[in-house]
Subunit: 274 residues, 2 copies
């Protein structure tokens, strides 16, 4: 393999949209080594010119020209960027015109809309959801549990915390989570504070080997981390989910995003994306 | 305003990329009322056909045809979807061919790559970052502080917690945060446990009115929430940041994403996007 190929994500806002689509496209070329840089807030012609200078300097020193993924909405800024020595991929322009035609409406060309503070009420809900998820992590609080959109339950270290925080932060959902204790698992019952809330529950499970490995990082050599204990807890948990008709998925081979997507789909929760 | 315009985000994976670019494009048409639905995991020809049936049924009942944003990589699935009665916006196809030409390489057409478990080591780092951020939220722990990529400091309720959790979850950064107490602010000093760590610190501030409003939701009528107290704390905090040469930004009119972007830019932290 030669020099890594240089990639820029350029945006007049945070760069999140440019990164998301750009990275998704680049995953389709997995044998190529990419060196990626995000240039956010390129929202003036001066910054655009400085960006062009930076890219051209780099380009002059490299075998192959850089790839530039852009989501700038301002025509003047985009025209400056487009002139640089690169493969310029505008993620916006073609689509905006197509949508303008379909809706018979001009676009606003407003910068930094997508990940800014466009809708403050929606934003406040998101912060409230995150505070709720933090306060209720790992069964720490039972206050106002009826407000929960969702209660994740699972034995320790099956991915409850990252999944609930992701659901709160990215989708504004009031997500909470409860550990299933040895006592719950032995007596095949839901935690007492979840009485009457089984319809909000969603279960997580895992593979015994994977769980044992994760628990070993925390407490190596312990009974808690042993394969026997992990197998037992997962078996009991899955039986408990079935008994209470609680849908469940395994976190063993899934990313946080995939788990969150499946949970929302199964519980018919409205997705929002921040 | 008539019927809301129906929008679908269709993907063979989580749908996050389709939503991100689709929503970004739709923010450019802010007078139109959109009704959005995400259809994730459309990864077989059967599911694609069922999706077409669903969209066509809806289309038949509405004045205007739906908008469909798609990021499916499989040619056969995409061909089925494209035939439905809608404005079909393929966020992938054109770009993939352009990039294939530039890199002189065929794309892999692998489904669900972008938000799946492609790189497990990278994924484990992300989970470790999130656990670290949770453990260290609001100065709860001082264990292993030298591991931090970043320490956010601010008076109570300036946005430390959402920003650190976002940096951990979305960018895999070991982000922690410390409150500035009345004692710190009065004596214009950094919290004791941050001795020698000022170069990792980043400050947040806010507007007194905005902070007072947020604090009032938690403790209405308290001294803590009073405008006088908020003004005092923010003034002292900003002076403290300047004294210790700590960069800072105001959270008053910024989204979590914008703050996170500015913090990474200022501290020269490598962005990752999950």
């Amino acid at each position: 393999m030669g020099q890594p190929r240089t990639v820029f994500f350029v945006s007049d806002g945070t760069g999140i949209t440019a990164e998301t689509l750009g990275n998704t496209l680049l995953t389709q070329f997995d044998t190529v080594d990419f060196k990626k840089t995000t240039l956010p807030f390129i929202n003036t012609t001066e910054k655009a010119q400085a960006t062009v200078d930076l890219i051209n300097q780099l380009s002059a020193r490299q075998e192959a020209r850089p790839l530039v993924f852009s989501t700038t909405v301002n025509d003047e800024i985009r025209a400056i960027l487009r002139a640089c020595n690169c493969l310029f991929l505008d993620l916006f322009d073609g689509f905006v015109h197509t949508i303008e035609g379909e809706l018979q409406q001009k676009s606003t060309h407003a910068q930094g809309r997508a990940h800014g503070l466009a809708d403050s009420q929606r934003y406040n809900t998101r912060i409230a959801a995150m505070n709720y998820a933090m306060e209720h992590d790992d069964g720490q609080s039972t206050r106002d549990l009826s407000r929960a959109d969702l209660i994740l339950i699972a034995p320790s270290r099956c991915g409850k915390t990252p999944t609930s925080l992701y659901l709160a932060l990215q989708h504004g959902l009031f997500a909470t989570n409860f550990p299933l204790t040895e006592d719950d698992l032995e007596h095949m019952k839901l935690p007492k504070s979840l009485d009457g809330l089984a319809d909000k529950c969603f279960g997580l499970t895992s593979d015994p080997e994977r769980l044992s490995q994760i628990r070993s990082e925390r407490r190596p050599g312990s009974k808690y981390a042993s394969l026997a204990q992990c197998s037992y807890e997962l078996r009991q948990a899955e039986q408990l989910y079935r008994r209470f008709n609680i849908p469940f998925i395994s976190s063993a081979a899934m990313s946080i995003e995939e788990m969150a997507t499946l949970v929302m789909q199964e519980k018919d929760l409205r997705r929002q994306s921040f």
